[in-house]
């Protein structure tokens, strides 16, 4: 009885929280609603900012399937392939690096990390020409490598794993070493499992960045058959006249995968306080 009362009291205390979160959510979701609505309207209604649902969904879909020489599905396929490869490779390369930098840290590694950090501070536009030359000389244009290589090892991801490794207790490592566990096994058996939440967050971010990447893929994936979803969207959304109904349906297709990935992985990094590190 007392317990029940207590619970409802807590709920009442949370009312302002609910209100605040609801407002934030509505503001965040409104554009998504608008995107759905727009995908069912014709271009003039969309351009005029109509927020009601229309009856053009099927027509828009027919147009979308025929657009850019009918490459909707192949673009989707390409984007999935590149984004998944990118995510898996990046997570592996950056997590071992972040682990190495933090848990084996000495002044040499700290300095090296500082140097690596510089790599993200130069605007992409400055390095685009030399990087393109590099990839073109290596004969990698229009391959998945051209897409992923520059993005695999990013100072940001390394930093993310490095910062979060700080919560990994060194005692565990010592104990494992005494048990005779090899260094790489400590990483896979001890570190990876308890950093699940960081991996999940990193996967969401990497997948999203890879999926939405546009400027670099645009220049290295010049062939139709290598086209990605954002390139497909760019092809239908610029031109002297744009069909906005069709474009918004395309955008919807383009946004769904990142949303689904987030929805699936979010439990991993945000299921309340667990106190799993012990």
């Amino acid at each position: 009885m007392t317990k029940k009362k207590n619970k409802s009291m807590i709920q009442r205390r949370l009312i302002p929280t609910y209100i605040f979160l609801t407002i934030c959510s509505l503001i965040s979701v409104f554009p998504l609603y608008w995107m759905f609505a727009a995908a069912t309207n014709d271009t003039v209604s969309v351009a005029r900012g109509s927020i009601a649902f229309g009856n053009q969904l099927l027509i828009n879909f027919t147009h979308l399937k025929a657009a850019v020489q009918g490459t909707l599905w192949s673009s989707m396929g390409n984007s999935f392939l590149y984004a998944i490869v990118q995510t898996v490779v990046t997570l592996f390369v950056c997590s071992i690096a972040g682990y190495g930098f933090e848990l084996y840290h000495d002044s040499g590694k700290d300095k090296l990390f500082g140097v690596l950090l510089l790599a993200m501070m130069v605007p992409a536009v400055a390095t685009m020409v030399p990087l393109y030359g590099l990839v073109s000389k290596a004969k990698l244009l229009n391959t998945v490598w051209a897409f992923i290589l520059p993005g695999i090892s990013t100072p940001f991801m390394i930093m993310m794993f490095r910062q979060n490794s700080r919560n990994f207790p060194p005692d565990i490592m010592e104990a494992a070493r005494i048990d005779g566990l090899a260094e790489w096994k400590i990483f896979f058996k001890m570190y990876v499992p308890i950093q699940k939440s960081i991996y999940a967050a990193a996967a969401v971010i990497t997948f999203m960045n890879a999926w939405n990447a546009y400027m670099w893929p645009k220049v290295v994936m010049s062939d139709n058959r290598a086209q990605t979803m954002p390139m497909f969207i760019a092809n239908i959304s610029s031109g002297y006249t744009v069909d906005y109904g069709m474009t918004m349906l395309g955008v919807l297709f383009c946004s769904l995968p990142t949303m689904i990935v987030f929805f699936v992985l979010q439990k991993q990094f945000a299921e309340g306080i667990t106190g799993s590190v012990k």
Partner: protein, 300 residues
Amino acid sequence: MEKKKHGMTLANKQLAAGWLFLTPATILIFIMSFYPIIQAFITSFKTGKGVNIQFASPLTYNYSRMLQDVIFKTSMKNTFLYLIVEVPIMLVLAILLAQLLNNKDLKFKGLFRTAIFLPCATSLVSYSLIFKSMFATQGLINSVLLKMGIISENINFLGTAGTARAVIIIALIWRWTGYNMVFYLAGLQNIEYSVYEAAKIDGANGWKTFWNITVPLLKPTIVMTAIMSINGTLQLFDESVNLTSGGPANQTITMSHYIYNQAFGQGVGNFGYTSAMSFVVFILVAILAFINLKVGDTRD
């Protein structure tokens, strides 16, 4: 003696393992980032376009040219305005949301989380279309404000310097708060619940707990998101290009947008000059990131 030798090899092994772990990432960054950066640095001393490019005399020509470039100075001013206003608001809001969502007793957490994250998963095309149409002279925001009696006639938000900058800042907050929240949520996982329980027993209220426990424990994450946000804002490009095209009269243009225009936006690029401008951006980011690391990144 025997034992000591064994210990040495173990230490060596550990040392080797430590370096091995960071080798792939380091090599990739050297090839994919530093090599192009050095190339670009050399280019920054050249002038001319296409086949006519050659070393400038004096070598610092591009760097001194910048001092006379009115539009570059405007773009720098705009970028810093975005940085100073947007980053603090966004990060505080993100921590606050993460903290609220990290409540054991809260229901519909998944729903709220997903909703707040969605903006950054929305593609740039729809995002810019939506903002442009909402803030259009005949758009939704105008009609709402008009009905509420806050304004007496429609405002051309994106066509006037002050309001256009405000729209860019609002758009940035809208798009990236949920993104930063994700890092804080992940970081909060490593704070043990018992710490909070202890604080509660000590009689600390919510605000005190937040300030004295959550913030210090999240410090590594806060440093990281701050560096990321500073870096992202100083290299801001998408919003300037897609929402306002840098206009009206270059009043909202960012440094990266201006550099891009000079490189690819208006015919054959002046790559010597764009490389030089990029290095100025680089130095600015590096200084701010360094300060950030010095202030916040201490192992205790």
